[in-house]
C-alpha cells in the first residue's frame, strides 16, 4: 500500500466534494494500492491538522454546522510550507485578475517539491508558463483536468489518451451556465434576462453573472487548453470574446427554423482563440442542451473525437480531481 499524505486547501463545494469522494472510494483506492491520507484541511478562516489522518466525515459535519473546518488558525499557505506532506489539492476560489491565493499556494507547493492537483483555473489562465516551470524545477507533478469542463475529460484526453495524434483544433461548450440559459431561452421563447434570473434562482448562475455570460470563464478555459494542448504561451488577453447577453429568443427561433441552435462556442487552434455565439446544426454532436459541456477535439489521425459531460458540480469536479490524483500515484 502506498500512503500519500494530502492537504485539501479550500473547502467550498469542490473541496467538500473531494472529501466525500475520498470517503466513498476508500475501498476502491485501497484495491489500487493507494491510501490518500488527508493530513490537513483548510478553508479561508480555519484549519484542521492531524498527521495520522484527519477524520473527513467529522470535518464535513463541522463545515456544514459551524461553517468552518476546524479551530486552528493556520492558513493554507502556512500548511503548505510547514506540514510535511506529498500532495496539495488546491480548491480555493478562482480569481482571474490576480490569480488569488491559489497562485501563491501553487508556487509555494512547488518550491517545497510537493505535487498539486487543482480545479482552480485562475492561476493557470494567468501564469501558466511560470507555474509549469516552477513545478518542473521543484520536481513536482501538476495536474489540472478539473479546470476545464469539470467532469468532462478534455486535457487528459488530448494529451494522454490521444498521444501520438496532432491536435489541430478544439471547439466546444465550456460553460454550463450559458448553455443552460440559451437552452431555456429556446425552449420557452423567453428573453435572456428572464432565463438568467431562473438560472440564478437554481444556483447555476452567480449573483454577478459577468464571468459566465460575457464569455470570460470560457476564455480562461481556452487559455488553459491553448497552453496545455497547443503549447502556446497565451493569456486571456489573447482571446477574442463575444458573450451571450445580446442573444434574443427571436434569433433562437429563426435559427431553429433553419435547423440550427445557437451555442456559446469556444474554439482554439494554433492561429486563434475565440469565444462567440455560433450556429450549430441541431443534429451536430456539439448541440448538447441543458447545462452540459461538450468538446470536440480534431486530430490528424483519428478525426474528430467528441466528449460531453457535466462541466460543474462538486462531485463531478471532484471526480476529475480524483482521476488526476490516481494517475499521478498509480504505477
Amino acid at each position: 500500500m502506498k500512503t500519500i499524505r494530502v492537504s485539501i486547501i479550500g473547502f467550498g463545494a469542490v473541496g467538500q466534494g473531494v472529501a466525500r469522494v475520498l470517503i466513498d472510494k476508500k475501498e476502491y483506492l485501497e484495491k489500487l494500492g493507494l491510501d490518500f491520507r488527508v493530513v490537513a484541511v483548510a478553508d479561508s478562516r480555519t484549519a484542521t491538522i492531524n498527521e495520522n489522518g484527519v477524520d473527513l466525515s467529522a470535518v464535513l459535519v463541522r463545515k456544514q454546522s459551524e461553517g468552518v473546518v476546524g479551530s486552528e488558525k493556520l492558513t493554507g499557505l502556512e500548511i503548505i510550507e510547514t506540514i510535511d506532506h506529498d500532495l496539495i489539492v488546491e480548491t480555493t476560489p478562482t480569481n482571474i485578475v490576480t490569480g488569488g491565493v491559489g497562485l501563491q499556494n501553487m508556487l509555494a507547493a512547488f518550491k517545497h517539491g510537493r505535487d498539486v492537483v487543482t480545479s482552480n483555473k485562475g492561476p493557470l489562465a494567468m501564469k501558466y508558463g511560470e507555474l509549469i516551470e516552477v513545478a518542473k524545477a521543484g520536481g513536482s507533478r501538476f495536474r489540472f483536468e478539473a479546470t476545464v469542463g469539470g467532469a468532462m475529460p478534455v486535457l487528459n484526453l488530448a494529451n494522454d489518451v490521444l498521444a501520438g495524434n496532432t491536435i489541430t483544433n478544439v471547439e466546444g461548450i465550456f460553460n454550463g451556465t450559458c448553455n443552460y440559459i440559451l437552452t431555456r431561452m429556446m425552449e420557452e421563447h423567453a428573453p435572456y434576462e428572464q432565463m438568467l434570473a431562473e438560472a440564478q434562482e437554481l444556483g447555476y448562475a452567480e449573483t454577478d453573472p459577468t464571468y459566465d455570460v460575457e464569455g470570460i470563464d470560457t476564455a480562461c478555459k481556452l487559455v488553459i487548453l491553448a497552453n496545455c494542448v497547443f503549447g502556446m504561451n497565451a493569456t486571456h488577453e489573447d482571446v477574442t470574446i463575444t458573450g451571450i447577453t445580446k442573444i434574443t429568443p427571436e434569433a433562437l427561433l429563426l435559427a431553429q427554423n433553419e435547423g440550427y441552435v445557437i451555442k456559446l462556442i469556444g474554439e482554439v487552434n494554433d492561429s486563434r482563440i475565440n469565444v462567440a455565439p455560433k450556429l450549430v446544426p441541431i443534429d451536430h454532436p456539439l448541440a448538447v442542451g441543458g447545462s452540459l459541456n461538450v468538446a470536440s477535439v480534431q486530430t490528424d489521425l483519428s478525426g474528430p473525437i467528441t466528449v460531453t459531460g457535466r462541466g460543474a458540480g462538486s462531485i463531478e469536479t471532484a471526480s476529475a480531481i480524483l482521476s488526476d490524483m490516481i494517475s499521478i500515484y498509480r504505477d
Binding site: K246, E250, L254, K278, H284
Partner: protein, 169 residues
C-alpha cells in the same frame, strides 16, 4: 463556379482526351464525365456529359478551345454559386439600413444574399434576422462573411456564424 456541359464527340479514337484537355489546362477541376456511347445522336456523334469547376473568367476559353477542336457543344449550364451559407444578425437591423447591408454583399459579384427572415418584436427592441448567402466558393463565402462582419461592426450588429466543423463531424 460549377459548369455542367453536354458535348458531342465524333466516334473516332482520341476525342475524349481532346475534350478534357482544355479543362485541365485551364486549371479546372473535373467532377464527373459520363460517356453515353450507346446513345448516338441523329448526327452520329456520341453525347458526353461533363461536370467541372472552373474560375468564371476561364469558361469562354474552354468553349473556344473545344470549338477549335471541332467538338460540338449542345448545352452549357453554369451554376455560379454553389457554396451556401447561413448567418444570424441581431441588433437594429432595419434602422441601420438593411438594404445597404444586403447591397454591399450583392455588389461583390462573388456572393449574394438569397434569403432573409426578419423578426421585429417591438419598435425599440433589437431585431433578429437569418440571412442565407450564396457564394462562388468556400473562400468567397469567408470573404463575404468577413465583409458582413465589418458592416455589422459599424452598425453595432451581432453576427452569429456557423461553427467551422460542420462538414467535418
Amino acid at each position: 463556379m460549377r459548369v455542367s456541359m453536354d458535348i458531342e464527340l465524333k466516334d473516332i479514337p482520341g476525342q475524349l482526351i481532346l475534350a478534357l484537355r482544355p479543362v485541365s489546362e485551364l486549371k479546372g477541376n473535373l467532377i464527373s464525365v459520363v460517356h453515353h456511347h450507346e446513345k448516338r445522336t441523329p448526327r452520329g456523334t456520341i453525347p458526353v456529359q461533363l461536370v467541372f469547376e472552373i474560375k468564371p473568367d476561364k469558361l469562354n476559353d474552354i468553349v473556344s478551345s473545344l470549338e477549335e477542336n471541332g467538338i460540338g457543344i449542345a448545352r452549357i449550364d453554369e451554376k455560379k454559386f454553389f457554396e451556401h451559407g447561413a448567418v444570424m444578425l441581431i441588433g437594429h437591423i432595419v434602422h441601420t439600413d438593411i438594404q445597404d447591408t444586403i447591397d454591399t454583399i450583392d455588389k461583390t459579384g462573388y456572393a449574394e444574399v438569397v434569403d432573409l427572415n426578419l423578426s421585429m418584436p417591438k419598435i425599440n427592441m433589437a431585431s433578429s434576422a437569418s440571412l442565407k448567402i450564396d457564394a462562388i466558393s468556400k473562400e468567397h463565402m469567408e470573404s463575404a462573411i468577413a465583409l458582413l462582419k465589418e458592416i455589422a461592426k459599424k452598425k453595432d450588429l451581432l453576427v452569429i456564424e456557423p461553427i467551422k466543423s460542420i462538414g467535418v463531424a
